[in-house]
């Protein structure tokens, strides 16, 4: 009698199933842990990406505020931080409005209006605040004078997952070139003495990856309770200089 090569007994099958079950259990735990770690890492990476983008965006806008092509010419005087900059325009959001003279419009295209072959300088006004969808939104207007500003970008959400946007302004009261105090919008002694902006953002990742539970975040002295949705959150605070006001 020859033994069949492929046949197995019931006992063999049961032992094999038991061993496979143990192996699978371990494997499932391993894969679950790896999946969780990957989701967490992905969320972290996205948060960092959002933070980088927000930082880049705000640093550029604030850094270039009050740019004038002819600072000696009173015709080119401009408020770097516009009066429309406000505290608490909506839940968890301040509003930042910066202005500068620019030969590039809101899309960074050269102004088609030229003089001696060079694009003319118009006023460019950028607004940053949170929109209803939880995005840091940018609006932009461009025109030859404050009365003729034309909206080119209307509150376009560009940084997703922003739950709070807070601002403080560095006021140089004694005009020695150093910030003496940080104040809320409109509380500065004179707009021309604002040397810098502090921006605080609370960013939330896209998915639920951590244990649910509320947490209180302190964003530039404003306390914000996050929702118990299991999303990863990151608070960032930036101090940005108005580079047109350095002595």
């Amino acid at each position: 009698m020859t033994r069949r090569n492929c046949g197995i007994t019931l006992i063999e099958l049961l032992v094999a199933l038991l061993l496979t079950a143990f192996l699978l259990l371990g494997l499932v735990q391993l894969v679950t842990a790896a999946g969780t770690a990957m989701r967490l890492q992905d969320n972290q990476a996205q948060l960092q990406d959002q933070a980088r983008f927000a930082m880049h965006l705000l640093a550029d806008a604030v850094g270039q505020a009050a740019y004038s092509p002819e600072p000696w010419n009173p015709d080119f005087e401009i408020e770097g931080i516009a009066a429309q900059t406000m505290d608490s325009v909506s839940a968890n959001s301040d509003r930042l409005v910066v202005r500068s003279w620019s030969d590039l419009n809101c899309f960074d295209n050269r102004n088609p209006d030229t003089q001696s072959g060079k694009p003319r300088f118009y006023i460019r006004e950028s607004t940053f605040e949170l929109n209803g969808s939880g995005n840091l939104a940018r609006g932009c207007r461009y025109g030859p004078s404050l009365a003729e500003l034309v909206t080119q970008v209307r509150r376009q959400g560009i940084v997703p997952g922003v739950e709070s946007f807070q601002l403080l302004f560095g006021d140089d009261q004694d005009q020695d070139g150093n910030v003496d105090r940080w104040v809320r919008a409109g509380h500065w002694s004179n707009e021309r003495r604002v040397l810098g902006v502090r921006a605080g953002l609370l960013l939330a990742g896209p998915g639920a990856v951590v244990e649910t539970g509320t947490r209180v975040h302190d964003i530039l002295d404003v306390r914000i309770s996050s929702r118990a949705d299991g999303k990863l959150r990151q608070a960032i605070e930036l101090t940005l200089a108005l580079r047109s006001r350095r002595r």
């Binding site: 150093n178 580079r243 002595r247």
Partner: protein, 216 residues
């Protein structure tokens, strides 16, 4: 029926599945790594440009009154390194590295004296500046209130580069610098904060960086 090789086949299938997972994860990680590396390189280029700009400002504040003819009101050529208004092309941010090497001054370098002084990084050509005199505004100072006879306005273009060929940042700053008076210039290379130069003057608008923007 011959079942030999089933274990090998199953093993290979499992290996393929795990490899696929690993490759996907590694791909995502590589993308993230590239993103942050690009950002870091751009930040490095930006820092280099700002470094060049601050050295250009320091050099301007260190010039003695004798280096500029007091009666001159426009395009008063200072030592080499200061160009006349309109001498620099409209968009130097798009000029080649060769142009910058020919016209620019490395951070820490002194355009007048030739040899490089002060701070120079490992790669001096990563941080360069050029400057032009834009305008001169005489000041009627009979009462001696301002402490100077005129203000020169200078445009500084500074270029910083990172490791990658695309990581180039060019900034533009318009800096005011009073001339003709009894005040102290700064040492070059600077030994103290540059703000000390402008703090000598009561008129806040006549000294320091009055306009700044990113060009590239």
């Amino acid at each position: 029926m011959n079942c030999r090789g089933m274990a090998l086949l199953t093993g290979l299938l499992l290996l393929a599945a795990v490899s696929l997972l690993a490759i996907t994860a590694a791909g995502t990680m590589t993308l993230q790594q590239h993103q942050s590396a690009n950002f870091a390189d751009k930040t490095r280029a930006r820092s280099k440009a700002l470094l060049a700009e601050s050295f250009a400002r320091a050099w301007l504040y260190s010039r003695a009154d004798s280096e500029r003819a007091s009666s001159c009101t426009a395009n008063c050529l200072l030592p080499p390194g200061i160009y006349h208004d309109e001498d620099i092309p409209d968009n130097p941010e798009f000029k080649s590295m060769a142009w910058w090497r020919d016209h620019g001054v490395p951070a820490g370098g002194s355009p007048g004296s030739g040899p490089v002084t002060g701070y120079v990084g490992e790669k001096p050509m990563e941080s360069l500046w050029v400057m032009e005199e834009l305008h001169f505004e005489p000041v009627d100072d009979d009462s001696g209130e301002t402490g100077y006879s005129g203000v020169g306005y200078y445009r500084i273009f500074s270029r910083g580069s990172g490791n990658g060929p695309a990581s180039v940042v060019t900034c533009e700053a318009i800096v005011a610098r009073p001339w003709g008076g009894e005040f102290r210039t700064v040492e070059f290379p600077p030994q103290a904060p540059l703000s000390r130069f402008c703090s000598q003057f009561s008129d806040a608008g006549a000294c320091g960086t009055l306009a700044w923007r990113m060009r590239r």
